[in-house]
Subunit: 153 residues, 3 copies
């Protein structure tokens, strides 16, 4: 029965999306770290490569932001077992690999914010900073870091 499926994942599937395979950190750190009821999630990139406004379009940047959210959710699910344990998306920090004259980083990050709100509702509404960096790991167009709050166990 589909009703056995956790809520967040059910919404994900209703959007025609699925969690990608787990990407292990490429280095000596954790995918996320729990401290009390705070879950600090490590920076993750989307799959699209290139500077937004030069190599890739705004639309592609938004797609890359969505991909980064999905990679993060896979990491979090692996760590805590169930995405419905997330009480709140508190903070999103997004680095957009930007052409020198590209200043629409907030529009790029909307790709991530819209998806988070679609999945988590009001609990998915978050504070956010989007800025424009020269480079990112693997040259990805978007890199996201999140701070989540978990429900009490």
């Amino acid at each position: 029965m589909l009703t056995d499926q956790p809520n967040v994942e059910r919404r994900l599937h209703a959007l025609g999306l699925e969690l990608p395979p787990l990407k292990q950190p490429v280095a000596k750190y954790l995918g996320c770290k729990q401290s009390g009821d705070v879950l600090y999630v490590s920076g993750q990139i989307g799959d699209i490569r290139g500077a937004v406004g030069h190599d890739v379009t705004l639309d592609e940047g938004q797609q890359c932001a969505r991909e980064a959210v999905l990679h993060i959710l896979r990491t979090v699910k692996t760590a805590i077992g169930d995405l419905d344990r997330i009480a709140s998306v508190d903070k999103v920090l997004g680095f957009v690999r930007s052409a020198a004259d590209f200043t629409e980083q907030p529009l790029v990050l909307n790709g991530a914010s819209d998806l988070l709100i679609a999945l988590f509702g009001a609990d998915g509404e978050h504070s956010r900073t989007a800025t424009g960096v020269l480079q990112t790991p693997f040259g990805a167009s978007v890199q996201l870091e999140m701070t989540l709050r978990l429900k009490p166990e």
Copy 2:
């Protein structure tokens, strides 16, 4: 009577400053999000545009940092009703749109730090990171993000 005015705003006015009109987030996120007694404030830009060390001077960069603080305080006041509910400024993260050879990001951010300490006293003393990015939303010279702690309700 002026004594009805909250302390932080009284100090603001004594400095000859006032809160600017509220800037709504240009995208799908909150101006700030409360989680327990932590208030995560979204990145906000000041009004001045251009790369510090190229398009604008250090002085102008400092002014832009002050402007970003004022925009943040307006956002926070709108969200929590009274700036005197702020117990502590815990953390400031500042992105300075920088010329390729500009390395005085900490001096730029002093514009923000000095104002926070003038307004909040010892509670306004904060941890801080200032770094130099290629671009920012709207090409602003300074973008600030803050983590505040609120007094228990």
Copy 3:
């Protein structure tokens, strides 16, 4: 007797390392700020200067990341008295001053992560974001910010 020496510092010395002299913040902010049991540590740079992938090598970038950790630990020790009061390294945010085509920021930050894990064991495992910026204060190759959790007093 060496057994009087706190654990973390004993491990530091066993690695042939020592804490550098304290670097005072160059501006109007704190080296770190405690809020409840969270210790927000201000951004600190390592001693090496230059863009990784252009002026300095990956190895030198890793060395700079290690130096930044040592400066941070000196700052934290000065603030809280004893590094063994650290319960957990929760979050590391690293800005790598990068050549335009340098995309190995995670490898650079491994210099910091490996040292933290050597010093703090499992408690030193952390969430992490490494991104590539145009410039940093003083042109340093690496700038690190950390969020730590302290043991209850």
